[in-house]
Subunit: 140 residues, 2 copies
Amino acid sequence: MSIHITTTWKGNMKFESTNPSGHNLFIDAGPENDGLGEGYRPKALMLSALAGCSGLDVASLIKKMKLKVDDFKIEIDANLTEEHPKIYDKVTMEFHFFGTELNEDKLQRAVDLSVEKYCGVMEMFRQFANLKVEAHFHEK
Amino acid sequence: MSIHITTTWKGNMKFESTNPSGHNLFIDAGPENDGLGEGYRPKALMLSALAGCSGLDVASLIKKMKLKVDDFKIEIDANLTEEHPKIYDKVTMEFHFFGTELNEDKLQRAVDLSVEKYCGVMEMFRQFANLKVEAHFHEK
């Protein structure tokens, strides 16, 4: 399957990029890099792609497995190397589940299925970064 | 340097993700995957990250080299593999420059500097995909 996006320069350091959802997004540098901060920093979008891809897997499995979860969030910490080209070499991804009746085994299974089988973005990250994924459970 | 983002589940298939710019973004699946289409598709955000990272390099070099460019855009075509986990295995990135006085040599040099030296996202893509980058010049 082929995916196509178009990214158009809007002058100075600003860009507008398409997305298959139909929603466009703006990218911009911050003032420290001569931009006006009127858009997302592109490198961090990689991390949102990772969280979103795996998060959608887990959200889908929560539904399929009929699991009870009040809230969940994903915290990502990524280390950027010092020299150009700067890449993410170490990435930690923490799932945090909140609820009164958390089925920890099944939630862990959902995370494992995303990590081991479904999440393509994670598979791409593994080609350049040391990736650690953890699940934490917060019973209310 | 460490980069941190938080991605929070908003129910069903929707997520809200932070970005160092201070602008949050929404991620959602489309109706075909049980979502409401109220956000970006995460996998395509990887391509916007690639275009944005390299585009910012080139925009910065256009400024430094005092080059005259009316418009430019970046077209990305990415092939997704068929089996889970689905990754981008072939990526084509085309820079299109438009203007009346395009200095093709220097613009090509700006693209080459991003490709060979500066663009960290491109370096990450090279670890999992066959990447082809082209520059096209459209004199008005």
